[in-house]
C-alpha cells in the first residue's frame, strides 16, 4: 500500500524552529493559514523548572503544544507515546492511512538528510505525510534547512524514533539526553476557525495586551506569583532579572540552558507575531499595525541577542551578566513601546 497525502508543503519562519515549521506544515495541510494561526499570540509565560530538553519545547505546552502556541484558535495537539517500536510505526501509519498527516519526534543522528546524520544526537520534530509498504519507505516533510521533502527507509525512520538521544559529544548543547520514545503528535484543527478580519485582529490584540498587562500567561491565564511562575509583562521583567542574577552569581550552569531555550521560544513567538501584525496592517489598511509590527520585530531582535549572550556565557556566566542586564532594559523599553502603540492601533 502507498499513501501520499496532498497539501503538504514547506512552511518555515526564519525566527522559528522545528516546532513552528512542523505546526505550520500541518496547519496548512488542514487548510489553515499558518501565519494567521501561529502568529496571533504574543505574551510571556514560564514556570521555573518546566524546561524540557527538546527543540520543540514551549512553555505550558505539556498538555497541548499547539494549544499553547495558538491560544486564540480552536486548535490543539496531543502526544502519543506508543508502548513499543512496532506500535510506534503502526499508530503513525494508521493515522496517515486515514488521511491525517502527523508530527513525529526524531533523533537527527539517524536521518540521512539532516546535517547531524551519524554525527551528533539531537531531537527534532517533522511531518509524516506518507508511506510505501512495498518499498519500505516513509515520506517526511522537514522545512528546517536543509529543506527536505521525500522518502527515507522505514529502518532509518524507526531508528530515529527509537533513539535514546544520548550525549556523545559536546556539540549539541541543549537538546540531547532526552529519549525520543517513539512519540508522535496529532493535531486537532477547528471546527470554526475565526475569520481573518479586522474584528478578529482587534480581539486578538486586546487579549494579548490584557494578559501582558495583567501579568498573566497567555495560555491558561496563570498569574505571575512573584516567585517561580513568570507571567505577562511583570513576569517577563522578572525572568530576565532572575536570569541575570543567576549568571552574576556564577554558580548555576543550568541558567544557560534554561534561558537559552526559553529565549528561543519567545524569539519565535515574537518574530512570527511581528509578521502577523504586518500582514494584518497591510491587509486591512491599518498603518499603525504595520508600525507596531516593526516595534514588535525589534523586540524579537533583542531576543536574538539575549539568546547568544547567554549561550556564549557557558564558561563564565558572571562575565556576561552585565550584558544581559543592559539588554533586558532595552528589550523591556521596546516591549513597552510596542504595547503602547498596539493599545492605540486597534
Amino acid at each position: 500500500m502507498r499513501v501520499e497525502l496532498r497539501n503538504i508543503r514547506p512552511w518555515r519562519h526564519d525566527l522559528g524552529h522545528c516546532l513552528h515549521a512542523t505546526m505550520g506544515v500541518l496547519l496548512a495541510g488542514h487548510g489553515a493559514d499558518p501565519l494567521h494561526v501561529l502568529g496571533a499570540a504574543w505574551g510571556f509565560g514560564y514556570r521555573s523548572g518546566d524546561l524540557r530538553r527538546e527543540e520543540y519545547y514551549v512553555p505550558f505546552g505539556a498538555r497541548s503544544l499547539l494549544g499553547a502556541m495558538a491560544p486564540h484558535h480552536p486548535v490543539s495537539s496531543r502526544w502519543h507515546r506508543p508502548p513499543d517500536p512496532d506500535a510506534a510505526w503502526t499508530q503513525v501509519r494508521d493515522a496517515v492511512r486515514d488521511g491525517r498527516a502527523v508530527a513525529a519526534a526524531v533523533d537527527n543522528y539517524h536521518l540521512p538528510f539532516r546535517p547531524a546524520y551519524r554525527d551528533v544526537h539531537t531531537n527534532h520534530l517533522l511531518t509524516v505525510y506518507g508511506f510505501d509498504d512495498e518499498r519500505d519507505e516513509v515520506l517526511l516533510a522537514d522545512p528546517v534547512p536543509p529543506r527536505f521533502q521525500g522518502a527515507i527507509t522505514g529502518a532509518e525512520f524507526a531508528a530515529a524514533r527509537a533513539s535514546d538521544n544520548p550525549e556523545d559529544h559536546d556539540r549539541d548543547l541543549f537538546f540531547t539526553r532526552n529519549p525520543i520514545d517513539g512519540r508522535w503528535l496529532e493535531l486537532s484543527v477547528g471546527p470554526d476557525l475565526p475569520p481573518w478580519d479586522l474584528d478578529h485582529v482587534r480581539t486578538v490584540i486586546t487579549a494579548n495586551l490584557a494578559a501582558l498587562e495583567a501579568d498573566r500567561t497567555l495560555p491558561d491565564g496563570y498569574a505571575d506569583d512573584g516567585a517561580g511562575l513568570f507571567g505577562g509583562r511583570r513576569g517577563l521583567a522578572r525572568f530576565l532579572d532572575a536570569a541575570a542574577a543567576r549568571m552574576r552569581a556564577g554558580d548555576d550552569p543550568e541558567v544557560v540552558d534554561e534561558t537559552f531555550v526559553v529565549a528561543g521560544t519567545v524569539l519565535a513567538e515574537t518574530g512570527v507575531h511581528a509578521d502577523w501584525l504586518a500582514t494584518a496592517g497591510h491587509t486591512f489598511a491599518r498603518p499603525a499595525l504595520r508600525e507596531a509590527s516593526r516595534l514588535v520585530e525589534r523586540v524579537a531582535h533583542h531576543w536574538s541577542a539575549v539568546r547568544i549572550i547567554v549561550a556564549n556565557a557557558r564558561t563564565d556566566t558572571a562575565a556576561a551578566a552585565g550584558d544581559l542586564e543592559h539588554r533586558a532594559v532595552a528589550l523591556l523599553t521596546d516591549q513597552d513601546r510596542a504595547m503602547d502603540l498596539l493599545a492605540r492601533a486597534g
Binding site: 546535517p115 536543509p146 536574538s304 541577542a305 549572550i309 556564549n312 550584558d323
Partner: protein
C-alpha cells in the same frame, strides 16, 4: 516623469572608500581551511565557513565597495563579534559605513558614531542571519554564499551559509573619529569600509 528602477541602479558610485583597520579587534574564529583545525565556531554549534570559498586575506571589491577581508587559517581570529568595541576610523569624509557580516538569527542594534569635535550620534546596524536558506531581512546584498558549511566533524554540502553586505548611514559625514559597536555577540563582522558618495 518617474522611472522606477532597482535600488542597485540608483546607488551612487563611491567617490572615495577607506577600508577600516579592524585587525586588532578580531576575536573569533568562524572560518576554517579544509585541513580543519576544529577551532572554527561562527555560532554556538561550532559551524564555520570554508576558507577556500572566501577571499581571506585579500582586498576585494563587492558591489563597487572595497573591503579588506581578514586572513583565515582556522587558528587566529578572522572576524569579530560585536562586544562594545571602540574602533578608530580613518580621518575621512563618509556617507556610509559598509560592512561585511552576518548574525546568528537576524538582529539589529544601534552603533555609536564618535566625532572629533566630541559629538556622538547613533545609527542602526542591522544584520540578517547567516543560516542557509534564509534570506536578507534588512535590504542587504549577498556578499558570499559558500557551497558548504563546516560542522565540527564533517562538511555539509547541503548547507550554504551567507555573508551579507550591509551599510550604516552616516548623517553627518565630516569629522568621524570612531565607531562603537553594540554589545550584541549575535552580530559578526568581517570588514568595515567608509564610503563617500559622489555628489
Amino acid at each position: 516623469m518617474l522611472h522606477h528602477v532597482s535600488p542597485t541602479l540608483v546607488r551612487s558610485a563611491a567617490a572615495a572608500a577607506h577600508p577600516v583597520a579592524i585587525e586588532d579587534f578580531l576575536d573569533s574564529v568562524g572560518v576554517e581551511p579544509h585541513s580543519r583545525t576544529g577551532r572554527g565556531a561562527f555560532n554556538i554549534w561550532g559551524n564555520a565557513f570554508p576558507a577556500e570559498e572566501l577571499p581571506c586575506g585579500t582586498l576585494i571589491e563587492h558591489d563597487r565597495v572595497p573591503f579588506r577581508f581578514p586572513p583565515a587559517d582556522g587558528e587566529r581570529p578572522d572576524h569579530l563579534r560585536c562586544r562594545g568595541q571602540r574602533i578608530p576610523l580613518p580621518a575621512a569624509r563618509a556617507d556610509w559605513i559598509h560592512v561585511l557580516g552576518a548574525a546568528e538569527r537576524r538582529t539589529e542594534d544601534s552603533v555609536l558614531l564618535e566625532y572629533a569635535d566630541g559629538g556622538v550620534r547613533r545609527q542602526w546596524l542591522r544584520l540578517s542571519d547567516f543560516w542557509p536558506q534564509t534570506g536578507p531581512r534588512f535590504g542587504e546584498r549577498l556578499a558570499f554564499r559558500t557551497s558548504a558549511m563546516l560542522y565540527p566533524r564533517h562538511e555539509q554540502r547541503t548547507m550554504s551559509p551567507s555573508v551579507w553586505h550591509q551599510r550604516v548611514p552616516v548623517a553627518v559625514p565630516d569629522g568621524l573619529s570612531a565607531l562603537v559597536l553594540p554589545h550584541n555577540p549575535a552580530m559578526h563582522l568581517f570588514a568595515l569600509t567608509l564610503v563617500e558618495e559622489q555628489a
